[in-house]
Symmetry: C2
Subunit: 197 residues, 2 copies
DNA sequence: CGAGTCGTTGAACGGAATCAATCGTCGTGG
DNA sequence: CCACGACGATTGATTCCGTTCAACGACTCG
């Protein structure tokens, strides 16, 4: 999974390629922000530590996302970034990145578009999570993600997909099976096809 | 609730003020996009109709939000916008808005910042909704929203807050009461104070 | 071969949703 | 001014279904 904007960007700006093993950190909370990251492969978990010492997950990032977008406008990180699996990351110098945006309104517009799309996607997931019935929630997610042929190609595991829509993975497996038995969809691995009716 | 960027913008760009009564529409699905809207007061529901005739909520917008950010980069609306209560909206001409962004990299950067913050906030809510225990979910929401004095001033009703974090409002009321009885917080109307320990 | 993880199924429990009813408040209109 | 409707806030009782715990097979990778 790659982002169009990120691809284009890499021809214009110097960047580094970082590979993290599982459980390795990309950055630490309260650390000064010098870079801006794009996750090309893998899974990254953003976790915040509170003063009381508790930890809370802020976000789980998958391939194709910029990491901590708000860090572009912040001095210090408000969370830790830890690789959940082996991950590949593109790293830009933050100052260079901002300077480049300033010279290219088309680049800035592209990034704005990317962010706007992120906002839209997050809102959809957010609403989907307000559906209480597992069956209906899954159907809502799938019909949002389907292409012109009613096919959904999951880019992440079923387990991660379950987490993404806020279901226990067991529930997700079970419900998918029911839906298949009911003739509402067919599935082969990570490929799902919605059937009309 | 107003947005800094929107305030500044209104001194630079012509705008119109729109007032909608409950159930009135701001725009319709498939309608051509000519405006860009900011919700200054009220509640707006974005609903999408599928080909099959079903309706799904895409987002419920509250005061202080730009409406359908992605519409800046799209030709047609993908959803309906309907006022849930009397609402006040600021309307810009979309072409003017984009043209202005193109001339002012600082304005574009401000908008980028606004969007980045939106993304961050949405991710936090998203993760919060993955907490199954009502009590823990509420505590997570409150400690995220608290100010320096551990005080949370809700800008929307308790009922809407419950919806925002994905709880039935009855559950929200009950759990708040329990938390108060347990000495974890105090509440007067829409003002909540978290107590340490 | 063994560790690790995903995918899968079973059983039981608990807690959140749901339905229902009441109260208070606010605005509206006759 | 009062009656009325609308809606938020609140509490009670019940149900149900999604979570959780548990166990196992399949597969990959070192």
């Amino acid at each position: 999974m790659t982002d169009i904007f990120c691809e284009e960007l890499s021809t214009k700006l110097p960047f580094e390629r970082i590979v993290l093993g599982k459980s390795e950190s990309l950055f630490l909370q309260d650390q000064k922000i010098k870079k801006f990251y794009f996750l090309r492969q893998g899974v990254l978990k953003l976790v915040r530590s509170t003063i009381e010492g508790e930890q809370s997950i802020m976000h789980v990032a998958y391939a194709g996302e910029f990491i901590a977008e708000a860090s572009l406008f912040s001095e210090k990180y408000h969370c830790f970034a830890i690789a959940e699996s082996e991950s590949e990351i593109i790293s830009y110098n933050k100052a260079d990145f901002l300077a480049y945006l300033d010279t290219s309104s088309s680049a800035m517009l592209s990034l704005l578009k990317t962010f706007a799309q992120q906002v839209r996607d997050l809102r959809v997931i957010n609403e989907i999570k307000n559906i209480n019935s597992a069956k209906q929630r899954i159907l809502a997610y799938l019909s949002n993600a389907k292409d012109g042929n009613n096919v959904i190609q999951l880019s992440i595991s079923l387990k991660d997909t379950a987490y993404k829509i806020g279901l226990a993975h067991e529930t997700f497996y079970r419900e998918l099976k029911k839906l298949e038995l009911d003739g509402l969809l067919t599935r082969k691995g990570r490929t799902i096809k919605l059937l009309k009716q």
